[in-house]
Amino acid sequence: MTILIHELKRNRISFLIWTISIAFMLFICMIMYPEMKTSMNSVTDMFANMGGFTEAFGMDQVNFGEVMGFYAIECGNILGIGGGFFAALLGIGILSKEEKERTAEFLLTHPIRRSSVIFQKLLAVLLQLLIMNLVLTAASAASFALIGETLAMKEFLLLHTAYLVLQLEIACICFGISAFIRQSGLGVGLGLAAILYFANIIGNINSSGEFIKYITPFAYAEASDIISSASIEMPLMLLGCLYGIAGIVAAFIKYMRKDIAA
């Protein structure tokens, strides 16, 4: 597992910055809740009646004035955007950076199978996302306690699970792309995450955008849906997992036989 450890070490600063930043934002949001709750009633009505904007962010399904509703809207977005972008960042670079930074020749002339290299790098991505989400879940739970609110455990855990799967899916798709490219790919990765996010918003507003939910993970990781129904749309999430697995398979097939550029 030399490469796994090497990757984790190399990325530790980026990992810490992202994890701490997202945790910090979640914290700040929750800290603001008690104050917002007191001036809530008028705000809730306003948010619930903004037409398209309301539907886009799922604010017609939950009560923004209740703690779980608030958590769903605010923190769901932070987890989705922050986590989604970090997942894309991790996935899109991990294979391609070896050729971009010209270290592939050093790494791949050592006695390790390419399959092992791919596997350990994949593991590095998945592990970082897993650990980050555990930390964020704990930080969120702590923030609830700090403001003296009780969280609805089932909805809370379902929400975090859904966002974890979303991040894993995005990371694995980007991992697949990473095997094909020789340059940074940062634009592609972040662009993909952004498109998936906005596709979901469009799908929420536009009633003829039904098919969009089959494409974007932000559809099954829709915080307001999860909180209000206390469940995740399993078929959609499984489809998302399938997309992720396709990305992994593509990475293996391509990278195993790729000619490594000088």
């Binding site: 010209r102 270290t103 592939a104 050093f106 002339t109 006695p111 000619d259 000088a262």
Partner: protein
């Protein structure tokens, strides 16, 4: 068993040629030279042998094992120095060396320490802060610390100062004594001449010569300059003929007695006969038409 053996090894990058029908072999404990102009296919050959790129056709074996099927096993016994050493930025020298040893699953700390001392390498520095020559030294340690049986070296002395170059070849000869084999790709023809037993010359993707170095470098040739005449003596076996207003020079490879008797017939005012520049001999292979073997 040949240490390296290629059979019609061919690599095309799409339509662009890399190497075509390469047939060479390297015996054990040999220091084998590999030379050719830029773009000839030296790097392509090396990268194919190491499994970085896959051949279009043909095959090759190292230590008697197929390079495609037994790649991992082969690589565990090879020390490779690329022409441009690139390491992970912000890692320190000792970390890179340790990573290489870990990837070989060997404890090379003692060897590494000895080599770092021998080549005067500061292991605490970050690799991206090193000069080219010092990065080369890191490359040397990584290639030699695990004591492989085959060394594939691509322009290993470029960037090294003369003292380090001397130390480097001492190291090579030590490993050769211990049974190691060296595949040396270099543009420094004097290195090839001084240290290699056999050498292959590649041009435009094809092998154009593969022979003992002494045969290739044709040390029996003599560079002749005659002053006072501007016509060439009536001899065969003359190469690189150059004439100017009052002198003529050429490379002579025939019988010395014939040369002297012919020169005797000419009204020369001065004459020099010297061993030719090494480069001139090899350049003959670098230029001109390629005739495929």
């Amino acid at each position: 068993m040949k240490i390296i053996e290629t059979k019609n090894l061919t690599k095309y990058y799409g339509k662009a040629r890399g190497i075509i029908d390469l047939n060479l072999d390297v015996a054990q404990s040999e220091i084998f030279g590999f030379i050719g102009p830029n773009g000839a296919g030296k790097s392509t050959t090396i990268r194919t042998l190491l499994g970085l790129i896959s051949p279009t056709s043909g095959n090759a074996s190292i230590f008697g094992k197929d390079i495609l099927k037994d790649k991992t096993e082969i690589l565990s016994n090879i020390g490779y120095m690329p022409s441009e050493a690139m390491f992970y930025n912000n890692m320190r020298v000792h970390e890179v060396i340790r990573l290489s040893a870990d990837l070989h699953k060997k404890d090379c700390r003692k060897n590494a320490a000895q080599l770092c001392k021998r080549f005067d390498l500061d292991t605490k520095k970050k690799v991206n802060e090193l000069s080219l020559g010092n990065r080369k030294k890191v490359s040397i340690v990584c290639a030699f610390q695990h004591q492989p049986d085959l060394y594939i070296l691509d322009e290993p002395t470029s960037g090294l100062d003369p003292l380090m170059q001397k130390a480097f070849f001492e190291l090579i000869h030590e490993r050769q004594q211990q049974g190691g084999t060296v595949f040396l790709s270099s543009h420094v023809l004097s290195e090839i001449q001084r240290h290699c037993q056999r050498a292959a010359i590649i041009r435009e993707g094809r092998l154009i010569a593969c022979d003992l170095v002494e045969n290739l470098s044709n040390t029996k040739a003599r560079q002749v300059v005659l002053h006072g005449v501007n016509t060439v003596p009536a001899l065969s076996d003359l190469k690189n003929i150059e004439t100017s207003t009052n002198s003529v020079s050429f490379l002579f490879q025939g019988n010395m007695k014939d040369l002297i008797s012919e020169i005797d017939k000419l009204p020369i005012t001065d004459m020099t006969i010297t061993e030719p520049e090494l480069e001139e001999i090899f350049m003959h292979f670098y230029e001109g038409e390629v005739t495929s073997k």
